[in-house]
């Protein structure tokens, strides 16, 4: 009931700025990302035995398990496994079985099974005694196997022991376990139709490892036999083992010697190691060897070895004799220049190998070297292909293939019969910085106008006339386009093209891996270009400064790179300096100022910059002035052993449309508008308190301070300050009898005095000084009005919509990690002057105030992300456009999401509801009516004249 009332009130007042269903994908775009797929755990799988449709499953380096529709690359479901288990630096392992609606994933010590079709949990388990080193699904034809679920073999490895566990396919309960405490490195598990193998690496006496294979009874886990392979000469590290097969009639272990001269193959279960000579005719060193073998129980015992050199690659196909376990070479796929990737796929027992090179995609059967299908690649990617998985379908004699190729840059693309169907830029999940850029073309006119502004009156006039004459050359084209434009604008369902109003600015995004992407916000965030700027995996970008046509990226090590924003070409670079910067400020004149970790400025700055407020690594806030760059002017240390965790200031672009708030009785409350405000959050982890301090940046004076008790410092505490108000949120627990438990959002407004029409100590002053006040009380303290709301979920990040003039109502943009969305709370709802425990008086109602309710439920229409599942967002940016009503929003950090927010509705745009066709039809109808009625009226008047006479 309460909720309904709250929802109803909210619905009444909120200037409903929700988006219309037909605007989805037009005003907003979303890249649902999972991270770079792990090669060993990526596969096509038919989740249902009834249907032939398959999905693409993978687990990424971020331990996110995802199911992707191979048709369009859309993410169907995903699960972050890292949340549940220990954080691991290794991505995870994923296994699935064709025709079974279950996939089993493991990350860290957490193992779980999910329904393959819709991502619902089947079972989960957490091991206390180690991390999961390998998992395999048991494909046994057991008499007892009545249910469809496949049991899972999990290898749990710890410092001292390796444990093989068989987990029930329906419940996840351990059926049996076999513990090996010999201290060997737990490596992998494998299975054949009749046995389970535990493969561990035994440290050899001098160097290297011996492969130890322990065969276990699949029913009770008892050890049946054990043998050791002499491999210490070749295997130096666990990574030296190229391949361990599983779930096939004859599982293999493959390794090579260090010089890549010979290949050693062991059919698991036999003691003999076969040596295959590598015939390297390319004349180049082999860089990488990969082994590709089918993963199906009934498939032919064939496998392919892929050799990659610096500039080319070839592959050899081998057959295994099931009786003698002998390995024989069948045929060779020729050496080709350029990159190459191979994938294996099955149709029943037949095995097919798909080879994708720069120029073509080919399919061969494992049985013979005849090429079954060949397609020319449309566009060769410049990025190296790391890995591919494929799916082959055959119709009569012809075959078709679709393969998903993972490129070195993190692009994951599906190639169907030589054509690239879709590309997912999984690298974007590691976005660390982003900004909107100005393109040069838009600047040409501005430049011309600037020239005119600097010339004499006559000179400027001549310049302008010349410019207009020059512009005339575009006239014929324009006239030619005109009819088409009119027709298309009337007929199509498109909203007015607003690109000229700055709503379709490109965004450049820098990722941790050293890449830079340009996203076209006008085209659903499609990647215009991407470029590797820095060869690193930890690019700590602190700031991106843009100028028309170019952007400069500054990293924490003091290096920078300038790129052309329309092509991505690197124009210039500066080398890293020997510093570690915690943040980089961009100044008005496109220069930057680095801040050291201890809070001091890295380079000297002068009075033209003014003053500086920094935070230091040891939890203090420092104020600096241009006169003295060596020591801070003031220092703020929070009281009672609190530690500063966050500091924020008003946005750079923060226009104020009105300096006061007009009340219902026409009196005015003057806003406290100090441009130098900083909001500091400090927490004490011992007694669970959080302090929020409002500082004056110039003098360091504490203008307002408040302490919240029962705060969970481990949960996100978000805060934001703009105009004359600030907001923060936290998780608050019970501290006394009357307190509630839950997430809270506090909003505070600053006024010059508590009385309307009164400016308090400022009186009629036109300006004020932070340092030199008339009565020593300078700057004057604000009158603060606050109200707290209980909200249903945590807020991890806050931002405020920005518009050109600040006339449009602002929205508080809150990132909700629990429901994977971004919500824009309208400011009128968050008015701290809402009357408490009584209905508003008529003058308050006129102001738009309504009764305060302690619980604030987020209305569905406030969700900027609507039905989208936008997870992992770390930062939300907002930027004004040339349209006052519209503010651009871009969110990154996990997924990529961009939209246009219209907090007071799109009042200066003709929306989709404006039908041009209807307007034209109305005019036509009226003209017809006039044409029809006019002669009638004329006739009548003439008749009447005759009658009157």
């Amino acid at each position: 009931m309460r909720l309904q009332v709250a929802l109803f009130i909210a619905a009444c007042v909120s200037p409903a700025a929700a988006i219309y269903p037909d605007e989805v994908n037009h005003v907003d775009f979303h890249h649902a990302l999972i991270g770079t797929p792990s090669p060993d755990s990526t596969f096509f799988l038919k989740p249902s035995s009834a249907s032939n449709a398959s999905l693409l499953y993978t687990i990424s380096d971020q331990s996110i398990l995802g199911a992707v529709n191979p048709r369009d690359g859309a993410l169907i479901w995903r699960k972050d496994l890292s949340r549940a288990g220990f954080p691991t630096n290794k991505g995870g392992i994923l296994r699935g079985s064709d025709g079974h609606n279950a996939v089993v994933g493991a990350a860290g010590n957490y193992i779980s099974s999910w329904t393959a079709q819709d991502g619902k949990l089947i079972w989960e388990n957490k091991f206390q005694d180690g991390v999961v080193a390998d998992i395999e699904l048991l494909e046994l034809e057991e008499a007892s196997a009545t249910s469809g679920a496949r049991d899972t073999l999990a290898l749990v490895g710890s410092e001292s022991a390796g444990i093989v566990r068989r987990l029930d396919g329906n419940t996840g309960k351990t059926k049996w376990e076999s513990k090996d405490t010999s201290g060997d490195v737990a490596f992998q598990v494998s299975s054949s139709p009749t046995e389970v193998f535990y493969i561990s690496l035994q440290s050899a006496l001098l160097k290297g490892y011996k492969v130890k294979v322990t065969a276990l009874d699949p029913v009770n886990g008892r050890q049946t036999r054990q043998y050791v392979l002499n491999s210490e000469n070749e295997i130096a590290t666990p990574e030296s083992v190229l391949y361990v097969g599983a779930n096939v009639a004859s599982p293999l272990i493959v390794w090579a010697d260090k010089t890549h001269k010979t290949l050693k193959v062991n059919v698991i279960g036999t003691k003999q190691v076969q040596t295959v000579n590598i015939e390297n005719t390319s004349g180049q060193d082999i860089r990488r060897i990969t082994v590709h073998a089918p993963h199906k129980l009934n498939s032919l015992p064939h496998f392919l070895v892929h050799y990659v050199t610096e500039s080319g690659a070839w592959a050899e196909v081998y057959h295994v004799d099931l009786m003698t376990s002998a390995v024989t070479k069948a045929y060779k796929l020729p050496y080709l220049q350029g990159q190459s990737a191979v994938a294996t796929s099955n149709i029943d027992a037949n095995v097919y190998f798909t080879r994708i090179t720069d120029s073509e995609a080919t399919i061969v059967s494992s049985a013979s070297h005849g090429i079954l299908g060949r397609w020319n690649m449309e566009a060769a990617s410049t990025e190296r292909a790391l890995h591919a998985v494929s799916e082959v379908v055959s119709k009569g004699k012809s075959v078709a293939v679709r393969a998903v190729v993972l490129r070195e840059a993190g692009a994951w693309e599906l190639v169907r019969n030589g054509q690239t169907e879709w590309t997912r830029h999984e690298d974007l999940i590691d976005a660390v910085a982003a900004t909107w850029v100005e393109q040069e073309a838009q600047e040409a006119l501005a430049h011309e106008l600037e020239v005119e502004g600097h010339e004499s009156l006559i000179g400027a006039y001549i310049h302008r006339v010349k410019r207009h004459i020059r512009d005339l050359q575009h006239l014929p084209d324009w006239l030619k386009e005109l009819p088409q434009r009119i027709v298309s604008s009337v007929l199509t369902d498109e909203v007015t093209n607003l690109d000229n109003f700055g709503v379709a600015k490109p965004v450049i995004v820098a990722t941790k891996s050293g890449r830079l992407y340009a996203l076209n916000t006008g085209k659903q965030g499609a990647v215009d270009w991407s470029v590797q700027v820095e060869e690193t995996s930890q690019w700590d970008v602190k700031s991106i400064v843009t100028r028309p046509g170019e952007a400069t990226i500054y990293a924490s090590d003091g290096s920078s790179a300038t790129v052309n924003v329309s092509t991505g070409e690197v124009i210039s670079r500066t080398a890293p300096t020997n510093v570690k910067l915690q943040s980089i400020l961009s100044l008005e004149d496109h220069s930057v100022l680095g801040i050291n970790e201890d809070g001091s400025p890295a380079t000297l700055f002068d009075d033209s910059i003014g003053f500086l407020v920094t935070t230091s690594a040891d939890g203090r806030v420092l104020g600096w002035s241009g006169q003295d760059n060596k020591s801070p002017v003031w220092e703020f240390v929070p009281p009672s052993s609190q530690k500063v965790v966050h500091a924020t200031s008003r946005p750079v672009h923060d226009p104020i449309a009105s300096i006061g708030k007009v009340l219902g009785n026409r009196s005015v409350l003057y806003k406290y508008l100090n441009p130098n405000l900083a909001l500091v959050t400090a927490v004490n982890e011992k007694n669970n308190t959080a302090g929020f301090y409002l500082l004056d940046g110039v003098s360091g004076k504490v203008l307002y301070a408040t302490t919240q008790y029962g705060v969970d410092p481990t949960q996100p505490i978000a805060s934001v300050i703009t105009e004359n108000w600030f907001a923060y949120s936290f998780f608050g627990d019970v501290v006394d009898e009357s307190s509630a438990k839950g997430y809270q959002l506090v909003i505070s407004e600053l006024y010059e005095s508590s009385a309307p029409n009164d400016r308090g100590p400022l009186d009629s002053a036109g300006n004020f000084s932070s340092l030199h006040g008339s009565n020593g009380d300078s700057p004057p303290s604000p009158h603060v009005v606050s109200q707290a709301f209980v909200i249903p979920e945590p807020i991890s990040h806050m931002a405020v919509t920005q518009t050109r003039q600040g006339i449009t109502t602002r929205q508080l943009l809150c990132t909700l990690p629990e429901s994977s969305s971004i919500v824009g709370i309208p400011r009128p709802v968050l008015d701290p002057r809402r009357p408490v425990d009584r209905d508003p008086t008529s003058s308050e109602a006129e102001e738009g105030l309504f009764r305060y309710a302690p619980f604030l439920e987020f209305d569905g229409r406030w969700f900027l992300t609507h039905v989208r599942d936008v997870s992992g967002i770390k930062t939300v940016l907002s930027q004004p456009t040339l349209l006052e009503s519209t503010s651009l929003v871009f969110a990154f950090g996990g997924d990529i999401f961009g939209t246009r927010a219209t907090p007071s509705q799109a009042f200066d745009v003709l929306g989709k509801s404006f039908s041009k066709l209807q307007l034209v039809a109305t005019i036509v109808a009226l003209s017809i009516g006039v044409a029809f009625l006019a002669p009638m009226v004329r006739k009548k008047q003439v008749n009447q004249l005759w009658k009157a006479v």
């Binding site: 909720l3 929802l7 409903a16 929700a18 988006i19 219309y20 479901w77 949340r83 999910w114 329904t115 991502g119 619902k120 949990l121 089947i122 989960e124 388990n125 957490k126 206390q128 351990t174 049996w176 376990e177 513990k179 029962g710 969970d712 481990t714 949960q715 998780f731 627990d733 019970v734 009898e737 009357s738 509630a740 438990k741 839950g742 209980v790 249903p792 979920e793 629990e818 429901s819 994977s820 309710a853 302690p854 619980f855 209305d859 569905g860 229409r861 969700f863 609507h866 599942d869 997870s871 989709k912 509801s913 039908s915 209807q918 009625l933 009638m936 009447q944 004249l945 009658k947 009157a948």
Partner: protein, 246 residues
């Protein structure tokens, strides 16, 4: 050795809390809930695990397997993108077993408990697995409905209605007049002539049309005045004729 591990697992599984999602009018098929649906148990950190999460299972339940053995009062939230569930209060005993589950009201004192969902039965031997039903309270509407164009809505517009009626009169009146018998028509005409308003208006029309815009602007004389002036004009013409006669 293995027995110990199995026992350990059993012990962890001892205190489990299962939340079932019933089918309701708002949500006829709980199996259709998105995979992101999950439940959280939240409280202030006093141990290491103070934020527990449970994912939606294929049976449309949310199961917390290992509630830490610590006396605590948790806030249970069930989160789904589109559906809103009522929050619960879950009290856990020092051994990790659930003491009681109540509905709770956000923004109210924590001790203000709502409907009781489960309370441990002190007399009975400890029950380890607790099952409660989630309570669905609402569904979010994310989108604004766009007003659709329909001819019916056009007809509902009073301006359009007036115009249609006026058009009907203009076209229908002469027809009606013609179909009247001559006596009636004569009477009607007599009647309308004697009526000052219609008479004046027709006069004004006869005099070259009534200038509505001019009248509203005050530059043209009042139609009433016009009606009065017309007979005067007639007299004027009469007098003029008389003078000429003289």
């Amino acid at each position: 050795m293995s027995l110990v591990a199995v026992l350990l697992l059993c012990h962890l599984a001892a205190a489990s809390l299962t939340i079932t999602i019933p089918a309701t009018n708002l949500l006829p098929n709980p199996h259709g809930l998105p995979a992101s649906t999950h439940a959280t148990l939240t409280t202030l950190p006093s141990g290491n695990d103070h934020l527990l999460t449970a994912s939606l299972t294929h049976a449309s339940t949310l199961v917390f397997h290992d509630i830490p053995a610590q006396q605590e009062s948790y806030l249970l939230d069930i989160r789904s993108s589109e559906y809103i569930f009522a929050p619960y209060r879950v009290d856990v005993a020092a051994d990790g077993s659930v003491l009681g589950i109540w509905e709770t009201f956000r923004g109210n004192p924590w001790d203000n408990r709502g409907a009781e969902k489960y309370v441990v039965d002190a007399a009975a031997k400890k029950q380890s697995d607790v099952v409660v039903e989630a309570k669905l309270v609402g569904r979010r509407g994310f989108f604004e409905e766009r007003a659709k164009f329909s001819p019916l809505s056009l007809v509902k517009n009073p301006m359009i209605l007036l115009a249609i009626v006026a058009l009907g009169f203009t076209l229908g009146m002469p027809k009606l007049m013609e179909s009247m018998d001559p006596e009636m028509r004569a009477e009607f005409e007599e009647h309308s002539r004697s009526s000052p308003l219609t008479g004046g208006a027709s006069n004004a029309l006869a005099g070259g049309g009534f200038d509505l815009a001019g009248w509203m602007a005050g530059t043209s004389p009042n139609p009433m005045a016009n009606a009065d002036a017309a007979p005067a004009g007639v007299t004027g013409r009469d007098t003029g004729a008389a003078t000429r006669r003289r």
